[in-house]
């Protein structure tokens, strides 16, 4: 029975529960046992989780999600449940409230299964910057799962959770989804409330689903999207998110940007990407070469804007209201500076310094001001492209999963992981990564992006392609 249950997608599991063929308790117990075993094994396992629930209470009975348990990235505040955003500086923090996205999913019937490991404050592309230690890729334990939502991606790929919540600032859902061979979607900026998400870069942070298939992603997104009075930047999607059903791509014009599909992308990744495009054509899609002339500058702009916003957002960690405080401070300033020294990891310190530098007197216009103008050009590039095509396709990440420790000494090499995902983040448009094949036995992700609010078209196209590609994710199951 349990092998059969584990083979079901989350949406299928919800249908079984609704039909009375499986009980919610049975489903929860199955996943709880698997998650708890990984948690107990710590770094001997995949190290996906920072906390695992004892019981599946707290979710509504019934509902569209019908008791299918949910893993949630550590940075979502969950009332009375540890929420540290992967950082030592929030050690012991038990939030007094729950993030809107998690609250909505509980209201739709999904109980909290576990909190997932992540890069500290979502800063990273390998899940190696975590106070809880690195997460391992279930396809090859010597490799990274991607980041920053690496615990969520690895847990779903390995079948330790039916589905998971993540956040994406410059690729933190899409890139780990690609490296772990699952589906990950960053919806239009603002479509999911940021209330209760521990902030990294507020103008870019966006919650989204990490799931086994596209239908699961649509189901999860449909239940968490929507305007929230607690987040003034949130907005209602013009149409509710529908479950995808398209089988063909007849007449769908897909743009392939030269800037993101050539130089800097691994040969095996490009090969799998090209094969997926051929599949799209056989489903009736029309390919068109397009230009996103400013895309090569997106990463530089992003690594000004995101650290600048982070340096401001992370000013709140001062040892006063929650989390860590340095021992025996001499005075107030000493308490601030030593608490932050002791509590932040190396990458977070680097980005706080970089952001502070970029915003400091004399450099503001050269860095932050210019980066904001580059952002305008990138948004204009996308707007021009979407005049001609319905969707844009790129590889999700320039390489397959890389070896643990292989890029930790070189921040710039690590940042290049976000080369194909950051442009969409800066433009605020929705994008989804689906697995499209293997290269050297490791998964390759295909990224599809659409104009703002095109979630349904994007999900439909991804679904049609997913059926045709028939990717086999069983190599990651534990």
């Amino acid at each position: 029975m349990s092998a059969e249950l584990l083979a079901l997608s989350a949406a299928q599991a919800a249908e079984r529960v609704a039909a009375g063929e499986v009980s919610r308790d049975e489903l929860f117990a199955l996943y709880r046992e698997r998650a708890a075993a990984d948690r107990a094994a710590a770094e001997e396992g995949l190290n996906c989780f920072t906390w695992v629930a004892d019981a599946g209470d707290g979710a509504a009975a019934g509902g569209p999600l019908n008791g299918v348990p949910l893993a949630v990235k550590d940075l979502f505040c969950t009332k009375g449940v540890p929420s540290q955003s992967g950082s030592k500086i929030l050690e012991g923090y038990l939030p007094p409230y729950t993030a809107t996205a998690v609250q909505r999913l509980a209201g739709a019937g999904a109980p909290l299964l576990a909190k997932t490991n992540q890069d500290e404050f979502a800063m990273g592309s390998s899940n190696e910057n975590s106070a809880f230690g690195p997460v391992r890729n279930p396809w090859d334990r010597g490799r990274v799962p991607g980041g920053s939502s690496g615990g969520s991606a690895a847990a779903v790929a390995a079948g330790l959770a039916p589905w998971a919540l993540g956040t994406d600032t410059g690729g933190s859902i899409r890139q780990p989804a690609a490296l772990c061979g699952i589906v990950g979607m960053k919806p239009t900026y603002g479509s999911v409330s940021r209330y209760g998400m521990i902030a990294f870069a507020s103008s870019l942070d966006q919650a989204g689903p990490l799931t086994r298939d596209v239908r699961d992603a649509a189901l999860l997104l449909s239940q968490m999207a929507g305007q929230d009075p607690c987040d003034a930047t949130s907005l209602a999607l013009p149409q509710p998110v529908a479950l995808p059903s398209a089988e063909r791509l007849d007449g769908v014009r897909i743009g392939v940007p030269a800037e993101l599909t050539g130089e800097g992308i691994e040969a095996g990744v490009l090969e799998a990407f090209r094969a997926a495009l051929d599949e799209a054509v056989s489903l009736g899609a029309e390919l068109e070469e397009i230009e996103l002339p400013h895309a090569p500058h997106a990463l530089s702009a992003y690594y000004v804007l995101a650290p600048a916003e982070a340096s401001s957002n992370l000013a709140r960690y001062d040892g006063v209201r929650y989390g860590l405080r340095a021992c025996e401070p001499r005075d107030l300033l000493d308490m601030y500076t030593r608490t932050r020294h002791d509590g932040f990891g190396a990458e977070v310190k680097r980005r706080v310094m970089l952001g502070t530098y970029a915003l400091s007197s004399g450099y503001y216009e050269a860095y932050y001001g210019r980066a904001q103008r580059v952002r305008t050009k990138i948004a204009e590039d996308f707007a021009a492209a979407f005049e001609r095509v319905a969707l844009i396709a790129t590889p999700t990440a320039p390489s397959v999963a890389f070896a643990l420790g292989s890029k930790t000494g070189d921040p710039l090499a690590m940042y290049l992981n976000d080369y194909c995902t950051v442009p969409m983040s800066l433009a605020g448009v929705p994008a989804i990564s689906i697995p499209c094949g293997l290269s050297d036995g490791l998964p390759v992700g295909l990224q599809l992006a659409g104009p703002a609010f095109s979630e349904n078209a994007l999900l439909d196209a991804a679904y049609a392609l997913e059926q045709a590609l028939a990717f086999d994710g069983s190599g990651a199951r534990v």
């Binding site: 923090y93 239009t188 530089s300 340096s311 209201r321 989390g323 107030l332 680097r350 904001q372 710039l412």
Partner: protein, 94 residues
């Protein structure tokens, strides 16, 4: 090139203590990243307006009605040090 003095200046602004061993690598890494992001200096951006937020949402204000907020004891419960009335911190000048 970001030198030692500049690193210490920025660290002061960021309220971040750095150990002696952290200073030199930080200077090197920040310099490398700053040189790399400075590539955006090559673009002609005259007359291009800045974007701080991609989706235009303006003037969305909720009704100004009093609502209950977090009770004080709950707000203080997570603090490393507190009295019944507020957060307790060391004196600004010892």
């Amino acid at each position: 090139m970001i030198d030692r003095d500049e690193v210490l200046h920025v660290a002061r602004l960021a309220r971040l203590a750095l150990s002696e061993e952290e200073i030199e690598p930080m200077a090197r890494e920040l310099s490398a990243v700053a040189d790399w992001v400075a590539k955006i200096g090559e673009l002609d951006l005259d007359g291009v307006p800045p974007t701080s937020h991609v989706v235009e949402v303006t003037g969305r204000l909720r009704a100004d009605e009093p609502r209950p907020c977090l009770p004080r004891e709950i707000a203080l419960a997570q603090a490393p040090d507190a009295t019944d009335e507020g957060f307790l911190v060391p004196s600004p000048q010892a």
